[in-house]
Each structure stands twice: as C-alpha cells, then as structure tokens.
Subunit: 253 residues, 2 copies
C-alpha cells in the first residue's frame, strides 16, 4: 500500500497536555514525517500562541486538530492503538520496543485507522486510558535520565512510522488469516462489547460494581490480545443477548 | 563492547548554532539516549539561560561542553565523522539513510572516538565543513515539509545511536508478561471452556446443534488467537455459570 496513505491513517493522540508549546512541537514533528491527524484530549490550553509558534509551518495541523473530552472519543473508528508508556504497569498491554510495534502499527494501518497515544508530560496515561490500547511501547532511554520531552517522543515515534511505512513490509498480517475472517472491530464496537458484558455480569451477580477488583481489566486484557474482528464482537454480543432474553433482563434479540 | 562505552565515544558537534534553546534541547536529547560529549563550534550565544532552560536536568552536559572556533578543532582525536545534511552536495560524501550509517558509526566507535556533526539551523554545513566528514545522512522527511527542528534531528540520531549500540544485546524488556498474568491454560482446560460455552449457547437457543454453521469454529479461532491463560478460562467459565444459575439450567456455581 502507498506509504502516504498508511501515514494518513495514523492518529497522534495527546492526552491532557499541560504545555501548549509541546502541542506545537508535536504538530511540527508529525508534519516532517508525513503524519497529519492530531487529536487532543482535554488539552490544558489550546489554541495558544505558544503552540502556533512551536509548530512553525505546521499550524495547519493545529488548525485541523480534533479536541475531545475523553480518550475513548478520540479513538472512535480506530482498530489498533499503541500507547507510549514509560514503565510497565500492573495492568495493560506488555511494554515492547518501538520498532517492532510500529511495524505492526503500519501493518494494521493497511486495514484501517490506527492511533499512537501519548500521556500528560508529568503523569503519563491513566490506567483506565492505557486499557484502551492494544500495545504499549517505551522509547529506550538512559536509565539515569529518561526525561524525554513530549515533542521528542512524538518525533521519534513519527520517525519510526515513516521508516516503517517506507520499508518493505513483511506480510505480518497474512499469518492467521482464515477465509472467514472479517475486518477488525473498531474501538467503539469493542467498547460496546465491554459495556454489554459488564451489564450481563452485573445482572447475574458475577460482577459487583461496588467491588470491581480486576475483573474488567482482565477481560479487556484478554480481548485486546485477541484483536477482535467485527464478526466476533457480533457473535459474543449475540451470546450475551441470548442469555439476557432467558433471564428476562434484556430485550428480545 | 559495552554499549555505554560505545555511546560515550560519540561526540555531538553543533556548528554555528543560532538559537541557544536548540543547544539546550540537543543536550537533553543526548542525555536521554546516554550520550554526553557536546562540542559547540562558534555558537552564536552560549552559555545562555534559554539553553539551560531547555536542557532541564541535562545542564551538566552544557557545563562540560567544549566550545571551539572551528569544526576541525572539534574533531581532533576522532576517527570517523558523520554529517547531517538535508541534501546531496556536489561535493562531500554521498548521502545515506540514518540507520545504516549509524550502525557503521557504532562499529567505528568500537575502535575509537567518532562524531555526529550538525550544521546551522538555516544554512546547514558549509562545503568545507562537510569535507571533514566520512559519511553524510539525511533523516527521511515529508518532501513538502522537511523542516526538522535541530533538537529533533539530534534526538532522532541519538535515538538511532542508542538502538544501534544496544542492537546486539538480547531484548531488555520481557515480552508478553504482565504482573497479573497466569500460566497458559492447558488444552483440556480450553476444551472445557468450549464445551461449557456450547452448552450455554444451546440452552439459550443462540446455537442450534442441528444447524451448527461456523459458530463454534469462529469461537475457537478467536480464543486460540488470544492464547488463553488459566485465570481467563476460569473467569469466562464463571460468567457462563452465572448465566446458567439465573436461567435455571445449570448447577449452583
């Protein structure tokens, strides 16, 4: 597939960015590497002259940026999401190296929209946010000084995206394709499944929202690993709906 | 050779830098990637508070920086020199891609001191300067917007240096393990899940054994892809059992 098309399918999502200058630097970094879709989740200050100044001639990216009030909203329509994370969490996808994961991101971009997600400069991403992601990467740094600027982190990953898009792509996604596979489920379709699952489990008493524990994160981790297809989401929701009809808690499917 | 030693042999040489902020950003970029030897050839303004501000906790690199009045002076003692150049010159070494050239730089660092040379923000390197270099690299950029910030260019090449220096080492990060992962489910445990699922789906009427279609193969394909863990099988079976209790078709869990 045309590398420019692949790059055009990558969203850069900045969550709760504190410094508008970093938003501008990210826009410039994106544009130098041929990316153009910027999403801003609850930016502290935007638009802002400092963002425009740091963006230089990439202000068009700022002007077309989509501002949302949640990460989920920014991910609507995406089917593969990579988070930048400075450390392994108790929860969420395992941390991997940028190059391999970006290769996968590019391969996934051949199928649909994808996203690279960056947290706040100081606190990073919340656990809830990172559970929306299928993979997590850490940019290898000096263990004694790992303070990579947000703009620099965006630069490095966008550079890897460009290198990956223009590299000869190994047929990563050819593996495991069966004749009856369907397109990847979008983020919102998978979220719909989680909500449905939660409702059924709450109804049957298997899940107690007062004492949530790690049940939902564990289910998210499992299904994120599986990279659900659209048909599969429909099947799983069909099973859930059928149990609701019997228990009388759901509508007739 | 120890990657830290290799990185310690790489000089970053900034020639006639106009903006002190870029010198600070370069220092920070270097330190995050484990480089520490900064040389400044005729900087327009240095030292400078703006350089310190942008360096954040990498000010030690600024304090130890060597200021020289010519590139030749900055290269004394080096045996391999790579220039960053935005375009092929009539003169000077041929332009190559960063990754291959940095691999060579790292190999040369095994023999002695090496350098990465960056020109002025606007005019780059002079022809005379570039003739001091053994190789030249261009960072691949969007042809419509190739305006890579100096700090970003230093970041990308220092990142490639770190990746190159650590390339021959086994991966630092354990793949695929999160702290609450459990052992993989055995074949029979997974089969138990499938039987359970089939029983529930048959009971609710979602699945008709007389007309099986591809429902079971599709579910098997999904869960095989996920490589289920033992805990996950238990959770999924717990959910199934809880729906059975309600429908009165199962035993009390």
């Amino acid at each position: 597939m045309n590398p420019e098309v692949l790059l055009s399918r990558i969203r850069v999502v900045l969550c709760r960015t504190s410094h508008p200058g970093n938003i501008g630097a990210a826009a410039r970094a994106m544009k130098t590497m041929g990316l153009s879709n910027l999403y801003l989740v609850e930016p502290k200050q935007f638009p802002d002259p400092e963002a425009d100044a740091r963006a230089t001639s990439a202000v068009d990216i700022l002007q077309r940026a989509t501002v949302t009030s949640s990460l989920k909203e920014a991910l609507v329509g995406t089917s593969f999401v990579v988070a930048l994370s400075a450390r392994q969490r108790d929860i969420g996808p395992p941390i991997s190296a940028p190059r391999e994961t970006v290769a996968r991101l590019i391969a996934e971009a051949g199928q649909g929209e994808v996203a690279l997600v960056f947290g706040n400069e100081t606190v990073g991403l919340s656990n809830e946010e990172i559970l929306n992601c299928h993979a997590a990467v850490t940019i290898p740094t000096n263990p004694d000084f790992s303070s990579l600027n947000l703009g620099s982190a965006v630069q490095v990953l966008c550079y890897e995206c460009r290198m990956g898009a223009y590299a000869e792509l190994p047929p990563l996604l050819e593996q495991g394709v069966t004749p009856f596979s369907s397109p990847p489920a979008t983020h919102d379709e998978v979220e719909g499944l989680y909500s449905h699952l939660e409702a059924v489990m709450t109804n049957t008493g298997f899940y107690n929202p007062e004492q949530p524990g790690r049940l939902l994160p564990k289910l998210r981790r499992l299904f994120a690993r599986a990279r659900l297809e659209r048909d599969e989401v429909n099947i799983l929701r069909g099973i859930l709906a059928s149990t609701q009809v019997r228990t009388g808690h759901g509508r007739k499917g």
